[in-house]
Amino acid sequence: MIYYLLLPVLLLMLVIAQIAVLDIFTLGWISMEISLIVVIYAGFHLDALRGGILSLVLGFFLDCLTSAIFGLYQFLYCLIFFLSMVVAGRVYAGNPALIAAFTALCTILEGLVIVLLYRFLFGADILAALLRIFIPQALVLALLSPLVFRFFDRFEGLLHAEDTRPARRV
């Protein structure tokens, strides 16, 4: 229950930090979308319900605080989360190179979906943005993702360190 209570607060903080602080380091050139790595991490480590809600809430906050069409990031993050879940069942999630490659792939996929949606919904041609924004962003996030994954692993380890209850029999 605590998970569902704390989740919105933490995710809102993450999105605000991402928008207000991290963009300063890249001088607005690319977006440091740590939230995307969080969604991928959730796809690798959480069950469908928890991860799905996390992705939806995270997408919701991002939709609220950016000028995107409302629902765009909710849809994108849900899509990427379930894609990550599917991939997590088939590969070893501890390999940093694989994490980096998958993150880059998801970033480009996100860019492609945005380009296509804008094309179909508004007739806007923003294909150039894919090369100018999403490919550099994919490279940056690919480099960052193993570090973020390691950080979340440690964080998760700390959370469960005091849980001394015996494992439930399934």
């Binding site: 809102l12 207000a20 609220c64 069409i69 849809f75 379930f82 879940m85």
Partner: protein, 275 residues
């Protein structure tokens, strides 16, 4: 549960994707409206974003101030360097001016003088030892020789006692070994001015009958041929007549300040006597 465990993930995925797609489709159609939840999130996020931005702006200002101060420090260092350079240059000009003034004084002395003179720079001064001497930067190659008189703009300095090709040593008139034929300007009484070290000099062999007063000017008499006649030696500072003695005891303060001598003139007479 209605849905088998095996299909639960797929079911959740399907529901969430459908929900998000529905929201997206709805928003795409009604772009202008801001939903209630969105307003709530914006309301919540705005103060936090504002606080973060204020903090970041503060940090930015501190950073800018730091950069400004770094620039200021560099500028300050540069200005200090320039100031030191200017001070040095100003000092050189000041020295040059003062040297010019001194040389002008020497030149004035030279112009009214019937003898050939050689200007020389004082390169060493030895007034603390037994012999009170100066070293000047001109020697026999400039025409100097032992016995020549040496003057400054203020008066007599002494005479040359040693020479090499490019340097000469001058025995100061205050040295105990220095004896110069002198006369008192006012009374024309003649005597010999003997050096007395730091005390200056004593004018000897002046008869008790001669009237000598403190402040009387003492000049060279020109008798021995070393010092031309009429050069300023000093002024009388004290006179005493002891009972039973033949001569007066006259103290003379030299006209030249030997501590501040920098340039001198050596007077080249036709046939100066030896040491």
């Amino acid at each position: 549960m209605l849905i088998p465990r095996k299909y639960q993930s797929i079911a959740v995925a399907a529901v969430l994707l459908i929900v998000s797609l529905t929201i997206l489709s709805y928003s795409a159609v009604r772009l202008s409206e801001t939903g209630f939840l969105r307003k709530v999130v914006l309301e919540m996020a705005a103060p936090i974003e504002r606080a973060i931005n204020i903090s970041l702006q503060g940090l930015h200002d501190v950073w800018k101030r730091y950069l400004f101060l770094v620039g200021l420090e560099e500028e300050n260092r540069q200005l200090r360097r320039e100031s030191a350079l200017r001070e040095e240059r100003l000092n050189q000009y000041r020295e040059g001016y003062l040297e010019g003034m001194r040389l002008r004084g020497l030149l004035a002395l030279r112009e009214g003088f019937p003898y050939r003179t050689v200007a020389a720079r004082v390169i060493d001064s030895d007034r603390s030892s037994l012999f009170k001497t100066l070293l000047i930067n001109k020697g026999t190659s400039d025409g100097l020789r032992v016995g020549l008189a040496v003057l400054s703009a203020q008066g007599v300095v002494g005479r040359i006692i040693e020479t090499s090709w490019h340097a000469s040593r001058v025995l100061l008139m205050i040295d105990e070994n220095s004896n110069i034929d002198a006369l008192i300007q006012r009374s024309r009484a003649q005597g010999i001015l003997q050096g007395a070290g730091a005390a200056g000099g004593n004018l000897k062999y002046i008869s008790r009958t001669e009237e000598v007063l403190p402040g009387d000017v003492v000049l060279s008499s020109g008798l021995s041929g070393v010092f031309p006649k009429g050069l300023l030696l000093g002024t009388v500072t004290a006179v005493s007549r002891k009972e039973g003695g033949l001569f007066q005891k006259i103290d003379v303060a030299p006209a030249v300040d030997f501590g501040k001598l920098e340039e001198v003139l050596a007077v080249i007479t036709e046939a100066g006597p030896g040491r």
